[in-house]
């Protein structure tokens, strides 16, 4: 099966129902995308599939063949992603950091679709869990990235 990840093509030979998360982490060695729950509960595994924030832990790899997948590893190649990262840094968002790959990807997806999000847009899109409670800093950073 052929996957397009961060603009590069990868051939993977794996059971078709393997979650994308584990293809990224184990087959391709891209460990920036995190495993938190495996059950679409936390969002640590969020990647972009054709621009949509997608929980890769419950996404069978066969369902994303032929799509464009973007992971945190390529975040700096994306102009919106860059803005998000800069806002994350200036708001000092991460604590333990474990959820933050997924948070940054979710924010990037939001700002690609709604460059000037309302508070409701932000609340609706930024639903990933953070056990360290960085939620207020996340929302502030999203607002700042939208202004940048």
């Amino acid at each position: 099966m052929e996957l397009t990840i961060n603009g590069s093509k990868h051939q993977v030979d794996i059971e078709a129902d393997t979650p994308l998360l584990w293809v990224l982490r184990d087959e391709l060695g891209m460990t920036g995308t995190k495993y938190g729950c495996g059950l679409a509960q936390c969002g640590a595994c969020t990647v972009l599939v054709d621009g949509q924030a997608t929980r890769s832990c419950v996404t069978p790899v066969e369902s994303v063949a032929g799509t464009s997948i973007v992971t945190i590893e390529a975040i700096a190649d994306d102009p919106v992603g860059q803005k998000v990262v800069e806002a994350w840094v200036s708001n000092q968002v991460p604590q333990c950091g474990y959820c933050q790959s997924g948070q940054v990807m979710a924010a990037t997806a939001l700002l690609k679709q709604s460059p000037q999000p309302t508070e409701e847009d932000i609340a609706g899109a930024m639903v990933n869990l953070c056990r360290c409670g960085t939620y207020n800093a996340i929302a502030a950073a999203v607002r700042q990235a939208a202004q940048a």
Binding site: I14, E15, T18, P19, W22, R25, D26, E27, G29, T31, G32, T33, K34, Y35, G36, C37, G38, L39, Q41, C42, A44, T71, I72, E73, I75, A76, V85, W88, V89, Q92, V93, P94, Q95, C96, G97, Y98, C99, Q100, S101, V104, A123, M126, V127, N128, L129, C130, R131, C132, G133, T134, Y135, N136, A137, I138, A139
Partner: protein, 748 residues
């Protein structure tokens, strides 16, 4: 090797030939192999060195610091970073004295060893202790390093040391206009003795301590570049997944479909472990799928198995048992005569409170990467909060000497007390056995479901209170008994006639001037595996006490803020703090009142004294569809003195989130000996839409000793919320979490 490189800082007696700093590792750019220097010593010399007194933790510059040719500093931290900002704090403290900008530090976690035993003679990252236990030592360490650099520069420039000074990252000779970057003189400095006495910077001259220096790891954590334990890899490793016995103590019996599972894609081998089965495979997903396909018959725990989980264990029934106990228990704190004062009080009130089991729920599931090396050493990449303890335990599991266990402590994807050495709760013993059996490196990851099955729990407990009020409604007597078991006693040994302080902290040691008090504890074995959870006993005891305090206030027709203030008449530090949180929230208003958005709201207040820090908290709440909405939380926090205000702000926000999560949502429920929730779907944690605004005021009273920061923001949150809810609804929440209760506003 370490014994050979002993030098002592601040020791009054030194070996006759003066302190030696044989390790070039410290200041050398290339660290590889540097420690081998020790074995090149003549035998006689080595013996002489062996007689040098034991290493004084936190004194050997070379063990901590390596200045690289580009003048950046590699620093080995005794404490482990897990989001609390300790690496940045270390860079600030050491950099201040060494005269290096904290942003020029690269920090890694130090290996096990005597140099790093900075937590009361041991080493752990917890108890909100890291900064306060090491602050003085780390300042001296940085100052010693700076002095060695000055000496080296004095020699090179051939000028008296008194004519030299430093600027960040370099030594400067003002008279001649010459300068030497640290990186150029580091090697020469490393050859010098560590000074025995150094002068520390004046506090008024601090540039970085006390400032909001940006955290060092934020960019890497915003771009997915930080590797946690779960991300580590070594050549040739197999991935492992386990299925645990549903109840602790059960052992794997027959595997009904072993051949079928063995034939699944990528499967390398199937293993029986103590209390678990494991599959090794070429990817973790394949290992997990295979191990969960295995049909295992689990034995009943053998008689006498320690902490075997009973088949009929119900957390609800256990709580009923705790609450039904009417004993007075062993006294822990006695002031005046509570029994007599209760007997003669005008009014007596009583109430029983309880709080449930909690999991840590850190977002990174536990893992362990283990490799046996050809030289007989065992290497482990693991999450942990206490490297030396893990090293010792791993050595026992592996059957080798502790010094043969190499521990690479990883940055933690959250911890909150999760990564202490707890029996049956850590994956590395399994990984050691699996790696040995397979003859290959193994990375074992516990699925979230296995984690929620084997995490140690914040214990459940009940607390019974009685208070006596005088005719004017002021409290004159308070008697409290906590019922349950604490983690300190469980893990470090309990003496039956003594109270485990972790069961009463937050109820004992309160600052209010109530003349007659008794705090007791009645021990009941907890059938579950229990451990430390952010703020430990305070996480529930402050809820019990501070909520009951408002019950006393209500019974005596006192305003809860005014009553607290009056009972703190003799304690200016606490009065100041209480006033600070009230000022921060634009004045005390208890409510109910109608906010600008039309919602009816109320406020609650609470105080806490955890980990040598003082905290006052106010929460503002309303109701929406019978559910509590927390709008704002104001926290005034006084740790005495501080290192990084921005880190304090974020640690308080984090503690508020976790405290609120526990107050509103969290409980581990056991039925038939098994936990009912195995993932976040059944164990909800605070989601973003329930996060309140958090306002923090830091009060630097200068009180000594310095207090902690990581945990103290938490304990005041549940009682502040519960007290606000009582105002708003007239309903006293005495049992957590609040999601068990459907609330009605005062008007129905």
């Amino acid at each position: 090797m370490n014994e050979m490189t002993t030098t002592e800082l601040g020791a009054t007696t030194l070996p006759a030939d003066g302190p030696l700093n044989l390790s070039r590792r410290g200041f050398l750019g290339a660290a590889a192999g540097a420690l081998i220097l020790g074995v090149n010593l003549p035998a006689g010399r080595a013996r002489a060195q062996a007689a040098v007194p034991a290493i004084v933790p936190g004194t050997r510059v070379s063990a901590f610091l390596e200045i690289r040719p580009d003048s950046t500093v590699l620093f080995r931290s005794a404490f482990i970073e897990g989001g609390q900002g300790i690496f940045t704090a270390m860079a600030q403290i050491v950099g201040e004295e060494l005269d290096v900008d904290p942003t020029h530090f690269v920090i890694e976690c130090a290996p096990p060893g005597p140099d790093y035993l900075l937590t009361g003679g041991g080493r752990f990252t917890g108890g909100s202790m890291s900064v306060r236990m090491s602050y003085d030592a780390m300042r001296k360490l940085g100052a010693s390093g700076r002095h060695m650099l000055l000496q080296a520069a004095a020699t090179q420039l051939n000028v008296p040391i008194s004519e030299l000074t430093t600027e960040p990252g370099r030594v400067v000779h003002a008279a001649s206009g010459q300068a030497r970057p640290y990186g150029e003189i580091a090697e020469a400095a490393a050859a010098l003795p560590v000074p025995t006495d150094v002068v520390l910077r004046k506090i008024s001259d601090f540039r970085w301590i006390g400032k909001s220096v940006p955290r060092l790891d934020v960019r890497d954590k915003s771009t997915g570049k930080i590797n946690y334990s779960i991300d580590q890899k070594v050549d040739g490793m197999l991935l492992a997944a386990v299925q645990h016995s549903p109840r602790l103590g059960g052992e794997p019996g027959a595997l009904a479909n072993e051949a079928e599972v063995k034939a699944m894609p990528g499967v390398h081998s199937i293993h029986r472990l103590p209390g678990a089965v494991a599959v090794l495979a070429d990817s973790w997903w394949r290992a997990r799928r295979a191990v969960e396909t295995l049909q295992v018959t689990w034995s009943e725990p053998a008689a006498g198995t320690a902490h075997a989980m009973p088949a009929d264990f119900s957390s609800e029934a256990h709580m009923e048992k705790l609450k039904a106990i009417s004993e007075e228990g062993v006294a822990f704190e006695t002031v005046g005569d509570a029994a007599a004062a209760l007997g003669s009080a005008a009014t007596v009130i009583e109430a029983t409170y309880d709080a449930p089991y909690l999991v840590h729920g850190q977002l990174e599931p536990p893992s362990a990467l283990v490799r046996w090396n050809e030289d007989g050493t065992l290497e482990m990449w693991i999450p942990n909060q206490a490297p030396d303890m893990f090293q010792g335990d791993a050595a026992k599991v592996a059957g080798i000497a502790p010094e043969k266990v190499i521990v690479h402590s990883q940055i933690l994807g959250g911890f909150f007390g999760r990564h202490f050495l707890y029996p049956a709760s850590n994956p590395y013993p399994q990984a050691i056995l699996l790696s040995k059996a397979a003859g290959r490196p193994v990375k074992l990851i516990w699925s979230r479901e296995e984690e929620f099955l084997r995490d140690t729990l914040r214990p459940m407990a009940a607390a019974r209170f009685r208070a006596g009020l005088d005719a004017s409604g002021l409290p004159v007597a308070l008697s409290a008994v906590t019922i349950g078991e604490g983690p300190v006693g469980r893990l470090f040994g309990r003496q039956p006639d003594k109270v485990d302080g972790s069961t009463v902290e937050g109820i004992a040691g309160k600052v209010y001037a109530i003349p007659n008090r008794r705090v007791g504890q009645f021990h009941v074995d907890d059938p579950a595996m229990i451990g430390f959870w952010r703020s430990v006993g305070h996480s529930m005891n402050d809820f019990f006490y501070e909520t009951f305090f408002d019950e006393m206030a209500d019974a005596g027709k006192q305003d809860p803020f005014e009553l607290r203030l009056s009972l703190l008449a003799e304690s200016p530090r606490h009065r100041t703090l209480l006033q600070a949180v009230v000022d921060l929230s634009w004045g005390w208003k208890r409510g109910p009142f109608t906010a600008d958005d039309g919602t009816v709201r109320a406020r609650g207040i609470a105080m806490a004294s955890p980990f040598a820090t003082e905290v006052a908290t106010i929460a503002e709440v309303s109701l929406r569809d019978g559910e509590i909405v927390v709008h704002d939380v104001w926290v005034a926090i006084d740790p005495g003195s501080i290192v990084n205000p921005a880190v304090i702000d974020s640690q308080v926000a984090s503690a508020v989130a976790l405290g609120l999560s526990s107050a509103l949502l969290e409980q581990v429920v056991y039925v038939g000996g098994v936990p009912q929730a195995r993932n976040y779907d059944g164990y909800p944690i605070l989601p973003p839409e329930r996060m309140p605004r958090v306002h923090v005021r830091i009060v630097e009273s200068g009180a000594m000793p310095m207090g902690g920061i990581g945990e103290p923001g938490l304990p005041g949150v549940p009682p502040a919320v519960a007290n606000a809810v009582a105002v708003l609804t007239g309903q006293r929440v005495r049992s957590l979490p609040m999601s068990k209760t459907v609330f009605k506003g005062l008007n129905g």
